[in-house]
Amino acid sequence: MNLPVFYERREIVTPGDLLAEDDYVAGDNTYKKDGKIYATRVGLVGYENRKVFVVALKSFYVPYVGDLVIGKVVEVGLGSWLIDISAPYPALLRAADAINRPFKPQRDDLPSILDVGDLVMAKIVAYDRTRAPLLTIREPELGKVKRGQIVKITPTKIPRVIGRQGSMISMLKRETNCQIIVGQNGVILVSGKSPKDEQLVVMAIHRIKEEAHTSGLTDRITQMVKSEKGSVESA
């Protein structure tokens, strides 16, 4: 059956553009009105079976259950912390989701566990738009970030930092011996043996951010990292 669609796959569409009519299902970044499907964001249109969707080219982070995020503590409450995760809503980390025993206000001093300004790596455990997203740090690898550097990027550029099948990020790890953790909210944590190594990764990510639209990016970043490393070593 030939149902009407109005764009080629991966064509750029803008909010309000008519994408398809009739029996299609409205997917990400689209809406359906009177049997017609329109785009809600600037992006690339896609068709998959009966589903029409748009891959947004500009968006902001919206929490999703299971996401790993990196945020900073902005408020310490009586039994919880408020964490800025660069989303429309600040997230809530309850004491019970932070310590491995029942929380007792008499005994457990929250600021000594996490204080305002601390950086936290956490996972989203609940979010339904009606309340603040809930976080947990009761899993290995999660919790207060004690060292390293952070870089912020817009979430739509995360795939570029990771590269095709992880090519970019594994190259960066290999060449600099740094640990790189990409929060789904666009906050990237870089920790290595020396600040110099970390700085190199930070520079590389900034370059990826700026030149994200050019081709041959992985090669150029590899070259840049290698030559920077060379100059550091020879100095």
């Binding site: 991966r10 750029i12 803008t14 909010p15 309000g16 553009d17 008519l18 970044n29 809406y31 009105k33 329109y38 809600t40 964001r41 600037v42 992006g43 690339l44 891959v55 947004a56 080219l57 500009k58 968006s59 902001f60 429309p88 809503y89 600040p90 738009r129 009606t130 739509t156 550029k157 795939p159 570029r160 994200a212 639209h213 050019t214 081709s215 041959g216 990016l217």
Partner: protein
């Protein structure tokens, strides 16, 4: 200070040409840029004739003060503001009554397009600065602010295009500039969402018969259609670069 200028005797000459050389049904030249501000989540700049307008969007973000948040949707806030040097006589930077009314009608012209129900309790802030004014700034402001919203990645039902029609020297014309607005008989600013045929801003001052009004609205809508095409082209051109990034 205002340098005295001779008031034009006629706004339209015998050959149907207006003071700035345009035909009756012609828009002023329009130039749009997207993503012009570094700190804003979305931004755009427009020049329409001598109008120069900048729009920046922040959000959705936590609403401040908190009691202003709405439990079931985002609060759209809008500030239309004119720079003191944007007009002949210096304008006090304190928002005037006119600016506050325009902030409201511009907000309500954009709100039907935004999926405010997706982000309850947050605020989406739209800041519009008129750097130079030459008539029709509210319409150009809506045109550019809707692009700034799209650039901020805020989900929308449609872009909003806006344009005025009016009556000068007894004739209906499109997109009035300042002199035509001041010396003319009527002005009908209109904002429009093409895909649902929705009029989201409509004001009128002056004097028109019902028939003239209907013609003016139709004329303004034709202007909006052209502006909407331009909005789409500009957005696409901006994001072609971004597209390559994702595709590589």
């Amino acid at each position: 200070m205002k340098v005295p200028k001779k008031k034009p005797k006629k706004l339209i000459d015998e050959k149907d040409v207006r003071l700035d050389g345009r035909g009756l049904n012609e828009l002023r030249p329009i130039k749009i840029e997207i993503g012009v501000l570094d700190n804003a989540d979305g931004s755009a700049y427009i020049e329409q004739g001598k109008n120069k307008i900048l729009a920046g969007v922040y959000g959705p973000k936590e609403a401040h003060p908190k009691h202003l948040s709405i439990p079931d949707r985002a609060r759209l806030r809008c500030r239309y503001h004119m720079a003191p040097f944007s007009v002949d006589e210096r304008k006090s930077p304190v928002p005037s009554r006119r600016e506050r009314e325009l902030s409201k009608v511009i907000r309500q012209a954009l709100e039907p397009a935004v999926f405010v129900e997706y982000y309850p309790r947050t605020s989406i802030d739209i800041f519009i600065e008129i750097l130079q004014a030459d008539g029709g700034t509210r319409c150009a402001a809506i045109t550019v602010a809707s692009l700034a919203l799209a650039d901020a990645g805020i989900p929308m039902r449609s872009l909003v295009a806006a344009c005025a029609a009016g009556k000068i020297d007894g004739r209906l014309v499109l997109d009035l500039m300042d002199t035509e607005d001041k010396e003319g008989e009527a002005d009908v600013p209109l904002a429009w969402m093409p895909n649902s045929n929705a009029i989201t801003l409509l004001q009128m001052d002056g004097s028109l018969t019902i028939e003239e009004f209907e013609q003016a609205v139709n004329m303004a809508m034709e202007g909006c259609k052209k502006i909407h095409e331009l909005q789409k082209e500009t957005l696409k051109a901006k994001y072609v670069a971004v597209k390559e990034e994702v595709e590589e």
